[in-house]
Structure formats: structure tokens, C-alpha cells
């Protein structure tokens, strides 16, 4: 694959994982420069860098197979052997190299000796040069310059608020479309199932307006029994799930868009379910709330692991 095709596609800069002779990582760079929220790499207490030593964890998000072996990242399939990359040195210089993928690890071959030294053939037909550098394989991986929410989630090995939106966007947008048509709230419950490393979704029945002596307002009056029913269903099926997030829409009020802030009842539901992440869709887009406090997709919390946010219970 030519560099012209690959580099723009991934916008990648190679960062280089240097291993000592025993295969231990020597930490020659600072991950916090790229991600100030860097939380120590993959979950499960695994190593910081994907691709070395722990591809046995299928939940790392890099579960593609190469010759039957779990591969670093699923976008590196066999057809991408020989990807061209630019190596950026700290002195500002760059070097264009080719890499390949072997047993799930990206590596770069450095042939010994890189000078323009002369070459001689002696009387015994032995080729002699003055290059003394030994050839070696260099292990590397990629950090994307403009990571998508899914890239960040893969790197952190967890679902983040933004990655959940990306993963369920078509479904959430469909629910919003339904809300704009009916004027009623719609929503879903999202769970995490460790056994399958997946996010089961339970769609709630459409809400309806509740009325008092003054006015009538949209609501989700059945979310309580439907939440209990969802848990009961998983338990009956012997499925061990964690409640990850709940999503619902806030319909427009006439021509006006409502804010993406949670109502008192939204925050109470969140509190009663151990600070499960809240996601709201309004005419202005998506917002999140944790501990009753709203944040948007550009907030650092939107790129944090949801399980961490949910555990930060006030």
C-alpha cells in the first residue's frame, strides 16, 4: 500500500515503542502530550501499549485476526502489510519508512548501516563495508493525530460518552426523529455485557405527556417498571450485565428547543441507579450528565471511560 493512500486516511504519526533486550518497554515518550486525560492505557490493568504482550485480552478493542492471531488493531489487516509511514523525530526531521505486520505486531526493519560508505569486494569475494550498525526490528504502534471517539475508546479500552453516541447514533437519531413527529419522549437503556464484550440496548416505550392543573409536560412515566423488567430479563437469561447509560429525548416546546439539562426527576433516576450516565438528545444535539451535572461532547469527561464516570458518585 502506498504512503499516499495510507497517510491521509489515518493521519497517523508513528510513535515508537522501544523495547530493551528483554522485551520490556523503555518509555521513551510521553502519552499525556497527546491525551491529557490518558488514564494509563488499556483497562483491566493491562499494559499501557497495545500490541505488546497482551493481545490475549480480546476486550482490548484490537481483536482482528491475522493468520489466526489476534492483531494489534482491526484496521491493520493482512492486506496492509508494507504501509508507508513518516517517522517524526524530536529534532523536527522526518524519515519515511515502510512497516509490516507480523503476528499482530507492527514492526519496522532497520537494515544495518545507513551511511554512504564505500563497499569493497576482497580477494576472497567477501563483501566488506564500513557499516557497523547491526540490523534490527523496531516495534511500533500508532497514535492518530485527530482521533475519532471510537479511536479514543479503543485506546482506552472502554466505552466513552462520545463513543456510545457514535456507536448508537443511527438508533438515537431515529428516536429523535420519532420524538419530533410525536412530541413525546423516547429513550433506551444501555448495558455492558462482559461475556460478549458488547452493549445490549433495551428500547423503552414512547413516553407521554403528564398533566396537572397548570400545564402538560412530556415525560417517560414507564421507565421505572421497564428498567426493572430489563434487569429481570437479563437475570432470567443468565446474562451478567452492568447498567451503563440511559438515553432519552427532550422534545421541542413548540418551535423552541429545550435545553439538554436533566430535570429533577432525571437526576433522581440517575442517583437511584448508582450515577448511571445520562444522555439527552434535544434539537441542539446531544448532552450528557453525571452526578446531575451536564457536560457536552467537547468536555474532557465525554472522552472518559463511562465506568469511571459512573463510579465517581457524589
Amino acid at each position: 500500500m502506498s504512503s499516499e493512500r495510507v497517510l491521509p486516511r489515518f493521519s497517523g504519526v508513528g510513535y515508537w515503542l522501544e523495547l530493551d533486550p528483554w522485551g520490556a518497554e523503555v518509555y521513551s515518550w510521553d502519552p499525556y502530550l497527546d491525551d491529557p486525560q490518558f488514564s494509563g492505557g488499556r483497562g483491566e490493568g493491562g499494559p499501557v501499549f497495545p500490541g505488546v504482550g497482551d493481545i490475549s485480552m480480546p476486550s482490548t478493542g484490537c481483536s482482528g485476526l491475522l493468520d489466526g492471531v489476534l492483531t494489534l488493531c482491526d484496521f491493520f489487516d493482512r492486506n496492509k502489510n508494507g504501509i508507508g509511514v513518516e517517522r517524526h523525530y524530536r529534532d523536527g526531521t522526518t524519515e519515511r519508512l515502510s512497516i509490516d505486520v507480523f503476528l499482530g505486531i507492527i514492526r519496522v526493519w532497520h537494515p544495518g548501516g545507513r551511511g554512504n560508505s564505500s563497499m569493497e569486494i576482497d580477494d576472497n569475494d567477501v563483501v566488506r563495508t564500513n557499516n557497523n550498525d547491526a540490523a534490527y526490528w523496531e516495534i511500533t504502534y500508532f497514535i492518530l493525530q485527530n482521533p475519532t471517539p471510537m479511536d479514543i475508546a479503543r485506546r482506552k479500552n472502554c466505552a466513552t460518552p462520545n463513543s456510545i453516541i457514535e456507536q448508537f447514533r443511527s438508533d438515537f437519531d431515529a428516536q429523535w426523529k420519532r420524538t419530533t413527529a410525536s412530541g413525546e419522549e423516547n429513550g433506551s437503556l444501555l448495558f455492558y455485557e462482559r461475556a460478549t464484550n458488547s452493549y445490549p440496548k433495551v428500547t423503552l416505550s414512547e413516553g407521554r405527556h403528564l398533566t396537572d392543573r397548570i400545564t402538560s409536560v412530556p415525560a417517560m412515566p414507564e421507565i421505572g417498571p421497564e428498567t426493572r423488567q430489563a434487569f429481570s430479563g437479563f437475570a432470567k437469561a443468565g446474562r451478567d450485565v452492568s447498567f451503563l447509560a440511559f438515553f432519552h429525548t427532550h422534545p421541542n416546546s413548540g418551535a423552541d428547543t429545550r435545553s439538554g439539562n436533566p430535570s429533577g426527576d432525571d437526576t433522581q433516576y440517575q442517583y437511584d441507579h448508582r450515577n448511571v450516565l445520562g444522555i439527552i438528545r434535544t434539537g441542539k444535539g446531544y448532552s450528557f450528565f453525571s452526578n446531575g451535572r451536564t457536560f457536552r461532547s467537547d468536555d474532557a469527561r465525554a472522552s472518559e471511560c463511562i465506568w469511571i464516570l459512573n463510579n465517581q458518585r457524589n
Binding site: 412530556p218 417517560m220 432519552h248 428547543t257 429533577g264
Partner: protein
């Protein structure tokens, strides 16, 4: 140093001493004043539930009441026999309410209406007439329903799981004690507290003919 110089020096000392006394007097008066205010603020005990709804609701409410020139009740110290209760209808992003005050022997009440069902919003205030049963009888009905004593809904089992919908937030400032509590969607709850909240709503609507105000 001659005698004249000594006299001048003594005079100067006297002036400085007098000036110092005046300054000190001002400082004492000032610190006493601050002390009184602090005592007054400390004289009000606050009973605010540690509940998720509380900061969210009051952030919205205070934004509205500040713009409408309505004081923050949890920072207001009333005279001994005075009282103020606020009954708020939390309609998602629309907050309406009724405020009843007793200052000395004078009773008054106003209705608060949110002009818009979205933010930013502003409150419309209107004075209410004397309640049908009279002030004292109405107050007695409200206290019998538990307006001064109900616990916050989050601390009870009286909390139906509903997203959005209608909430009722009550603030009371009486006998130098400020309290607030909330019940969400009591129409959908089967408990004594919910019945009491709905009973208070009925009392207010019937006594002040609120249906006409909220048309």
C-alpha cells in the same frame, strides 16, 4: 528642648491620641454592625436535603427569581412572627409558583408564572386576593397537610421512577428555620406524602382560584 517645644509636642500627642480614639470608635461601630449581620444570618437554620435534584432545581430557580427581584428565601431572616412559604410547580423547564407571606399581622400572596416553557425564561408576578376561607384558616389547612414538616421525597419511598414530568418543590421560612423538599410526579405515587402534596395543591387552587390565574 525648651518649654514651648514641649508644649507643642504634648499638643501633637493629644491630637494624635484623639484622632486614634475616633478611628477606633468607628472600627468598633463597624465591627459591631458586621457582628449583628453575622448573628442574623446565623440565626436562620437551614434544612436542605442532600439530593440530586436540589442544586439543579435551585440553579434554575435562582436564575429566574433573581431576574424577577425575588429574594433568596434561604438567605432571608424574618422577624419572629413572620413567615414565608413558596410552593413551586416544576414543569420540566417551566417553573410556576405561589408565595404566601405573613409580615406582622399582614398576610399577602402572589402567583408566579413562567412566561416560557424553555430557557431563558422570565417570571410574571400577580397579587392574589384574600383566600376564600380567610388567611388563618388557609394557613391552618396547609400546616395540617404537612407543609412545614414533610420530609424530602428522595429520603422516602415515595418516589415513582419517572423521567421529567411534574415536580413540586416547597420552601418554608418560619420560626427562623428554612426548609425545602421536593416530590416528583406524586400523581403516580401511592403513598401518604404524595397525597399530602396533592392536597396542598388543591388547597392553593381552591382558596386562591388559581385556575383563573394559570389559564
Amino acid at each position: 528642648m525648651n518649654k514651648r517645644t514641649l508644649e507643642l509636642f504634648a499638643l501633637l500627642l493629644g491630637v494624635v491620641a484623639m484622632f486614634g480614639c475616633v478611628l477606633r470608635g468607628n472600627n468598633v461601630a463597624q465591627s459591631e454592625s458586621v457582628s449583628k449581620n453575622a448573628q442574623a444570618a446565623q440565626g436562620l437554620s437551614l434544612e436542605i436535603p442532600d439530593a440530586a435534584w436540589e442544586p439543579v432545581f435551585f440553579e434554575d430557580l435562582n436564575d429566574r427569581t433573581k431576574r424577577a427581584g425575588i429574594s433568596n428565601l434561604r438567605q432571608t431572616v424574618l422577624a419572629d412572627d413572620d413567615l414565608e412559604v413558596r410552593f413551586w410547580f416544576d414543569h420540566f423547564e417551566q417553573i410556576d409558583g405561589v408565595i404566601i407571606r405573613r409580615s406582622g399581622q399582614e398576610w399577602s400572596a402572589i402567583s408566579i408564572r413562567d412566561r416560557e416553557q424553555h430557557q431563558p425564561s422570565s417570571l410574571e408576578q400577580e397579587s392574589l386576593r384574600v383566600p376564600k376561607s380567610g388567611w388563618e384558616a388557609t394557613w391552618k389547612k396547609l400546616t395540617s397537610a404537612g407543609i412545614l414538616t414533610l420530609a424530602d421525597g428522595s429520603k422516602t419511598k415515595c418516589k415513582p421512577d419517572v423521567l421529567d414530568g411534574i415536580g413540586y418543590v416547597i420552601e418554608t421560612n418560619f420560626n427562623r428555620k428554612y426548609r425545602t423538599y421536593r416530590y416528583g410526579n406524586p400523581q403516580r405515587a401511592d403513598c401518604d406524602e404524595a397525597k399530602r402534596i396533592l392536597s396542598m395543591e388543591t388547597i392553593l387552587f381552591e382558596e386562591f382560584d388559581l385556575a383563573n390565574h394559570y389559564k
